[in-house]
């Protein structure tokens, strides 16, 4: 049927083009090339980048969706196509930041990697995200790549996440195919999964979850193979694989390990409720729980203290919002709350969510109609319903991030359930057969676009000026220059208080111990009006802070957008707050206009 679509038929008759793997490779490569052009236009401030960006995603996703919608496609070709899509979409993230990592969580992980490579030891310290060195999985793999392949730490990180992406696309397809019994639904399900709001950029960053989630996906695939193994020996083999994978997940990321444990426990519970006790992975769940608790007790005891405030604040804010005691979050806004997403994109995002909700409902209905749900499929349906229920949390400021993070895991259910709905209600034989695959491709593209729009501020979706060419030289933004100066001139032993984005640069570029945020309350020290209070001097002394960096640019408090050159005059915060360190006892040792570095040892 797809071959009779007008565009496909024209391409086939005139150009000899079929929807075969080489042509899909060409489409994806063209998508990557167009994305490169879009990112180049964006970082050099030229118009036209956004339409090109969407064109690139269409080139990558639509031909692959049309291929997945076909019935007579070999298993290997489906898997290869999905890996191709996964890597092409990852290339968009790499082309956005081709020179260095610029995502908020990438800085602390990159610091951990550099520390492993310089010291040859794990479990170093990290002043920005202290828990991350206790989960050294992703850094260990990147360090091994750097050591054995001789690549730079940055390139090693990119290679590690590219391998994780391949693993995710493959494992998700294999898992979906086993659970649904339909390779077609499985292929489409993986493409729907790419609509997770965090998939394109956030989940592609050099961070522990970016490796742990793909590993856990291999784990759930091994689980369904274990369940369907023909004999005891085969079950033992799959159990060995599953345990090995859990051993990899537990020291890599806390939340993913707990999510995997929750999946296993949920599967056990559903098996018991559905009276299918033989398939319940009780022993595997017990081993996973023991490993997770063991790691928590022996290596990462700070995890609970790290996660507790996030969860408690989110719950408190949800209750406050429900009671009308707290304001709701502005959707489609950047970190500062200013709305920046164009109206058309906001409409697409909302409409895409509605399509997704309809897809979840259709998928659940299709499974119920066929009465063929296994406990794992029921669990995926519950996860998809839970995802829909978490959507209102995006209106709550403190719960937004928790909902977004939970969404990554719950979307594993959404992907397959929506795909089952597409196969059952859009691709089933009926009237307008030519229109149906195109409709499926449009639906996938629509929900993907919706996810991308919802997942990242529009103004920062594309590359920003990070390295610019001027007079034959390559320049870096002021925050980088200040951080690099501190490392080169003062050495790496300083303890710096700085705004959120600058602190990350001091950590990675200056190799300093950098503090930001509210633990300790550096935010208040930096933003408070003069004079410098006694408690602020005490905070400096207790934390042995030797350098304070003041940055009047408001964007420096934005952990997503605070790393780039300012285009146009930046919005500035109070000059008085920044100048309160001009005191006897403090030395103003670096000044670049908006950024000033003080030596504050004399203020302790």
């Amino acid at each position: 049927v797809i071959d009779t679509l007008p565009a496909v038929a024209w391409a086939r008759s005139r150009l000899g083009v079929r929807l075969s793997t080489p042509w899909l490779v060409l489409c994806a490569s063209a998508g990557v090339a167009v994305a490169s052009l879009a990112e180049g236009l964006s970082r050099s401030g030229r118009p036209g980048a956004t339409p090109l960006f969407w064109g690139a995603t269409i080139l990558i996703l639509v031909p692959a969706t049309l291929r997945m919608a076909q019935t007579r496609v070999r298993h290997g070709e489906r898997a290869a196509t999905l890996v191709l899509v996964g890597l092409a979409l990852y290339a968009i993230k790499v082309l956005r930041d081709p020179f260095s990592f610029t995502f908020a969580d990438e800085f602390p992980h990159f610091h951990n990697l550099q520390a492993i490579l310089s010291s040859g030891r794990l479990f170093g310290s990290n002043s920005i995200l202290p828990i991350t060195p206790r989960y050294p999985g992703v850094e260990s793999v990147a360090a091994a790549v750097a050591r054995l392949a001789g690549t730079s730490p940055f390139v090693s990180g990119l290679i590690t996440i590219a391998a994780a992406r391949m693993m995710l696309m493959l494992a998700l397809y294999l898992f979906y195919a086993r659970v649904s019994g339909s390779p077609r639904a499985a292929g489409l399900g993986v493409l729907v999964y790419t609509a997770t709001p965090t998939f394109l950029l956030w989940s592609a960053q050099f961070s522990y979850e970016s490796l742990a989630l793909p590993l856990a996906t291999v784990g759930v695939f091994a689980l369904v193979r274990w369940q369907s193994a023909p004999d005891g020996a085969a079950r033992a083999r799959w159990m060995a694989v599953l345990v090995l994978v859990v051993v990899g997940v537990v020291p890599t990321h806390h939340i993913t390990a707990y999510a995997l444990l929750a999946f296993l426990a949920g599967t056990c519970l559903l098996h018991l409720l559905m009276r299918q006790r033989p398939g319940a992975p009780l022993a595997i769940a017990a081993v996973t729980a023991a490993l997770a608790i063991g790691w928590l007790a022996l290596a990462a005891s700070g995890t609970i203290a790290y996660l507790r405030p996030v969860v408690n604040t989110a719950l408190a804010k949800v209750l406050a919002t429900i009671n009308g005691q707290a304001s709701t979050r502005v959707l489609f806004a950047n970190q500062g709350g200013a709305e920046q997403t164009p109206t058309a994109e906001r409409l697409i995002a909302v409409a895409g969510i509605l399509v997704l909700v309809a897809g979840v409902a259709a998928g659940i209905w299709a499974v119920r109609r066929q009465r063929r749900a296994s406990p794992v499929l029921v669990l995926l349906m519950l996860a998809s319903a839970a995802y829909v229920l978490t959507l209102p949390l995006r209106f709550v400021p403190a719960a937004w991030e928790t909902a977004s993070r939970a969404g990554e895991f719950l979307f594993v259910g959404v992907g397959l359930v929506v795909a089952l709905g597409i196969v059952e209600y859009i691709l089933r034989p009926g009237r307008l057969p030519r229109l149906r695959p195109a409709l499926a491709a449009a639906a996938v593209m629509f929900v993907f676009a919706s996810g991308v729009i919802a997942g990242w501020p529009a103004s920062l979706r594309l590359a920003q000026p990070l390295r610019v060419r001027a007079g034959g030289h390559t320049l870096q933004p002021p925050g980088y220059v200040a951080a690099a100066w501190s490392g080169a001139t003062l050495g790496p032993a300083q303890r710096v208080a700085a705004e959120d984005s600058d602190a990350r640069l001091f950590l990675d570029i200056g190799h300093q111990t950098a503090f930001s945020g509210v633990f300790p309350d550096v935010d208040a020290v930096l933003s408070d009006r003069p004079p410098l209070k006694a408690w602020q001097r005490t905070l400096l002394r207790r934390n042995k802070i030797t350098l304070v960096e003041t940055d009047r640019r408001k964007v420096s408090t934005d952990v997503i957008g605070g790393y780039f050159f300012d285009v146009g005059s930046p919005a500035l915060s109070s000059a008085a707050a920044a100048a309160k360190f001009d005191l006897p006892g403090a030395s103003r040792i670096y000044d670049s206009g908006n950024i000033v570095i003080y030596w504050v040892r004399g203020l302790w």
Binding site: R43, R147, F221, P251, G471, G491, N594
Partner: protein, 256 residues
């Protein structure tokens, strides 16, 4: 191990990688990249999953997914073990562990008869499909080359100029003062240094191209007095671009 099996290839590549890293642990070249990446991300897991499963139990896509996952797990475990054993996470021990593990798992797999025959099949591609793949390579190369090229700054990009001052290392009564230009065009500056309000030195015009820097060590006199520096452009000499002051001489300067 049969010479024309997948495991023979795995053992050969792992051995080559191990030997190369043993000989050249600190170099980076194409061979090292081509062999080192599979040694971390593919070969241990491939050999391990071959030892666990017979070829009939796994499709190639399943084998590939397990290969990456088990390789990652083995790499993480090896890092934890090396750390616990106080062996530095360096190239040689790491390569030795991964190579030996890969060979041991491949031998175990071969003993169990879990071999896949290597077949060099002729790809059945039409000439148009070969052309499509060739164009793909060109597109990806172009995308990478363009993506990695620093471009001119957007119109309205704000440049900046930094002035800094620190005590000179190991030298009393001397300060290092410097200017870093992060402007998008060549600019001329004047720098005035004063001690306790009295003029000490004046420099200018200091002409700096984009990305260029200027630095001097200046003796300021006895008693380590407070020093102030004011930077201005030659075009607007009365408007300061940056101001620094040094009163605490205990700053541990690493280099200047």
């Amino acid at each position: 191990v049969s010479r024309r099996s997948d495991l023979a290839l795995v053992v050969a590549v792992a051995l080559l990688a191990g030997i190369l890293i043993e000989i050249l642990p600190h170099t980076s070249d194409f061979a090292r990249v081509a062999l080192g990446i599979p040694l971390v991300l593919l070969l241990p897991g491939y050999a391990l999953s071959s030892a666990i499963f017979s070829p009939s139990e796994l499709r190639m896509s399943e084998h590939l997914a397990l290969s990456i996952a088990l390789s990652v797990t083995v790499t993480i475990l090896s890092a934890l073990l090396m750390n616990a054993a106080h062996i530095g996470l360096q190239a040689r021990p790491w390569a030795a562990i991964l190579t030996l593990l890969t060979i041991a798992a491949a031998l175990a797999a071969a003993r169990r008869g879990h071999l896949r025959e290597l077949r060099v099949g002729r790809p059945r591609l039409r000439s148009s499909e070969v052309a499509a793949l060739a164009v793909s390579v060109l597109l990806l190369t172009g995308a990478a080359a363009f993506g990695l090229t620093p471009l001119a700054a957007p119109r309205g990009t704000q440049g900046q100029t930094a002035l800094w001052i620190v005590p000179a290392p190991h030298r009393s009564e001397t300060v290092c003062v410097g200017v870093i230009s992060d402007q998008l065009h060549t600019s001329d500056y004047t720098l005035a240094l004063s001690v306790r309000g009295r003029a000490l030195a004046r420099f200018g015009a200091i002409r700096l191209a984009p990305g260029a820097s200027w630095e001097r060590a200046i003796r300021v006199g006895p008693g380590r007095p407070p020093v102030t520096g004011v930077l201005a452009t030659t075009a607007r000499p009365r408007a300061s671009v940056a101001t620094v002051s040094l009163s605490d001489w205990s700053i541990p300067t690493a280099s200047c």
